[in-house]
């Protein structure tokens, strides 16, 4: 069998930034960002156009629905929601690849990679949220001063 598997684990910054935008700018901005980043990844990757666009739009929906149960203003909520969505996104990706006739090599180590990726993305989420919030406040403060 000629299967595929991820080369290495990654920290999914697209989902983290989508969550930030969802909290800060609203759902339309977050959806546009997720879709646009997915399209950009499709253009740069050897996969087919629309694959990651679909995946990140579905991830956005999961973030939108999940934000009702997890408080995105707290670090705990950010960590839990981002980790869960990243893990679900990986599972969805495997399912899509299987549907489109890519043979994915399923193994215990694959799910360990997914778990590590989800955990890392979740851990970095509160940090990035904090940085973006600080930047937002600073920009808002500077805008007030100039006004």
């Amino acid at each position: 069998m000629n299967g595929i598997a991820p080369v290495s684990f990654d920290i999914d910054l697209v989902i983290v930034f989508t969550a930030c935008l969802l909290m800060g700018s609203g759902s339309t901005g977050a959806a546009v960002f997720a879709f646009g980043q997915g399209l950009l990844i499709d253009i740069l990757s050897a996969g087919f156009l629309g694959l990651f666009a679909l995946i990140y739009v579905v991830a956005f929906l999961c973030l939108e629905l999940g934000s009702r149960f997890f408080d995105l203003r707290s670090a705990q909520g950010q960590f839990l929601l981002v980790s869960l969505v990243v893990f679900l996104k990986q599972i969805f990706l495997v399912g899509l690849l299987d549907v489109f006739a890519f043979e994915v090599l399923l193994s215990a180590s694959l799910f360990l990679w997914f778990g590590a990726s989800a955990l890392s993305s979740g851990l970095i989420a509160p940090v990035l949220f904090g940085i973006l919030k600080t930047l937002q406040l600073r920009i808002a403060g500077e805008t007030k001063e100039t006004a």
Partner: protein, 281 residues
């Protein structure tokens, strides 16, 4: 949340999912280059990627040059380059000897070793981690066209699958979607080389009666009209002969080191799909 806002959010989501599904339905299973819009996006984003890569390389270079053994590193780099050049020459000569010995009495055989080529730097890799491709900093303005073969000092790297004016995407040999017509240099047994995870390849459709052994060199056959004949591809790592299978399971370690790709050469060959096959007399 305001119910109207919730409805709007879901409609936004539905529209994006619909657009993504339409894109997928048009592009799945089809070989395509970048459209004009995609080329414009690549022309805008690739310089950023290039800058980031250059910055990372500069930091790495400063670290290695001033905090490690300076002379030893330079000598090592010089010797590696010399070794790679000699290795490439050796592979070419070995293939020439093999071919010449076989066809000397039967055919008039002309082979041009020197094809026009363009050197390009690797400025980015596949961002998904599931596929294997690279982005290089040469495009159609440098003479690159779709399906041109890409090699480095060690052997075949892949082929061009998308080209914009200044950049191009290379589908690597180790990608599942890649398929290269190859043969075993020693026994001339044919097969199709496809990518596997963990940067290995498998030689498909090798019959159970075929003469293939561990250590055999694999070279391109030229039959796909994309890769010139005789380019080194890899070495046989493992041969498994299962009684109930039609074909042998031949694992191949590629010659090129895909974890350290920095510069590649693009052979300026015409796209085989745009020109009719030449008939042999």
């Amino acid at each position: 949340m305001n119910p109207l806002r919730r409805i709007r959010t879901y409609w936004v989501w539905v529209v994006f999912v619909f657009v993504a599904l339409v894109l997928i339905s048009f592009h799945v299973g089809k070989r395509r280059s970048w459209t004009l819009v995609e080329q414009a996006v690549i022309e805008m984003t690739a310089p950023v990627q290039k800058f980031i890569r250059k910055s990372a390389e500069t930091v790495e270079s400063v670290w290695l040059k001033y905090f490690s053994l300076v002379d030893l590193r330079e000598e090592n780099a010089r010797l590696k380059k010399e070794r790679d050049e000699l290795r490439m020459q050796n592979d070419l000569y070995r293939e020439l000897v093999s071919t010449h010995g076989r066809l000397r009495e039967l055919l008039q055989f002309k082979e041009s070793l020197r094809s026009p080529m363009v050197a390009a730097q690797v400025i980015g890799r596949d961002p998904t981690g599931w596929f294997e491709s690279i982005l290089i900093d040469k495009g159609s303005q440098a003479g690159l066209r779709l399906n041109m073969p890409v090699v480095d000092a060690r052997g075949v790297v892949g082929r061009l699958v998308a080209v914009s004016p200044h950049y191009a995407k290379v589908l690597l040999l180790i990608d599942q979607n890649s398929a290269v017509d190859c043969l075993v240099q020693r026994s001339r047994e044919k097969g199709i080389l496809k990518g596997l995870p963990s940067r290995l390849c498998r030689l498909h459709y090798v019959s159970r009666a075929a003469d293939v052994a561990v250590g055999d060199k694999i070279v391109t056959s030229g039959m796909d009209r994309i890769f010139p004949k005789g380019l080194p591809v890899g070495e046989v790592l493992e041969v498994v002969d299962t009684p109930w299978e039609f074909f042998k399971d031949v694992r191949v370690k590629p010659s090129a080191d895909f974890s350290k790709l920095e510069e590649v050469l693009v052979l300026l060959k015409e796209d085989p799909l745009s020109s009719p096959p030449q008939r042999t007399k």
